[in-house]
């Protein structure tokens, strides 16, 4: 019911990609899909603010709480989605036990890890902070294997950037690299 034949899908995808190439050559840029994960409550507000800034820069940004259908439990969506979906970048702001648990669940999945950019409060960063414990050790393992663990300071009391600055900087540069065909 309403599902296209393989031939029609292939032809449609060719049309879509042709339009994308034409538009990209006009703006000398590309559009990437970014997902922002993190804590609820004030964390969602922070992510919404980041989302707005990235969208203004031409990126397609999703926040699970706002955008994913509520029929499926968030944890079930994230693991399936992040591995199989056509997401370019996933930013996880580990600022609560909830988001730390999320990170723990999928950090070592080969199909997810390359897209993951993890932000931790600078005191918990395995190299720059002085915290010890399971989570810091987990960050160190991920850092050693995949890289992409970033220290932030949203209180702006140190030289570390804010989480917003990290996301904007990395996403913008990634988009440029993708437009140049380097990723």
């Amino acid at each position: 019911m309403g599902v296209l034949t393989i031939r029609v899908i292939q032809e449609t995808m060719q049309k879509i990609r042709k339009v994308i190439r034409e538009l990209e050559s006009q703006v000398k840029d590309t559009c990437i899909i970014v997902v922002l994960l993190g804590a609820g409550g004030k964390g969602v507000e922070k992510r919404r603010s980041i989302c707005k800034r990235l969208e203004e820069n031409g990126m397609l940004v999703l926040i699970p709480e706002d955008d994913f259908a509520p029929d499926v439990a968030p944890s079930a969506v994230e693991e399936e989605v992040l591995g199989l979906a056509d997401v370019d970048l996933i930013f996880v702001n580990v600022e609560s036990w909830g988001s730390a648990t999320e990170f723990g669940q999928f950090h070592d999945k080969e199909e997810i890890a390359p897209k993951l950019r993890v932000m931790v409060p600078h005191t918990y960063h395995p190299l720059y902070g002085n915290s010890v414990g399971y989570l810091t050790d987990l960050y160190l393992t991920h850092l050693a294997k995949y890289g992409h663990i970033y220290a932030y300071d949203d209180d702006e009391e140190s030289a570390f950037p804010t989480s917003e600055e990290i996301v904007i900087t990395l996403a913008s540069r990634y988009r440029l690299l993708k437009a140049l065909g380097k990723v």
Partner: protein, 105 residues
């Protein structure tokens, strides 16, 4: 320039087989429930939630969620969604759709 960037965002959102099929399915059956969509497309529920999120975010579909009756969310095309299907010539042409019963996919 802004219009071109917005169009690029829309077409980037369309650059996926599942998402195009979702739009076509909702054209044929507006207000389709989440579970029916998953069955119709043969897609995992988590992945469907993501693809619906992309299409909703870009304004091509809208969704409503009923909590009281414990029914699932339902989705329908927006005017923009209809426009895109016409632009891609996916509406009204015979022989485009898959009939799984006949194996014509």
């Amino acid at each position: 320039m802004e219009e071109i960037r917005q169009k690029l965002k829309v077409y980037r959102a369309l650059d996926n087989d599942y998402r195009v099929n979702i739009l076509v399915a909702l054209f044929h059956e507006p207000n389709m429930a989440f579970n029916d969509l998953a069955r119709s497309l043969g897609i995992e529920r988590g992945l469907l939630a993501y693809h619906l999120g992309v299409l909703k975010h870009i304004g091509l579909i809208k969704g409503e969620y009923e909590r009281k009756s414990k029914k699932s969310s339902k989705y329908y095309l927006t005017n923009e969604g209809m426009k895109i299907l016409k632009e891609l010539e996916l509406i009204g042409k015979p022989g485009q759709e898959c009939n799984r019963a006949e194996g014509a996919c």
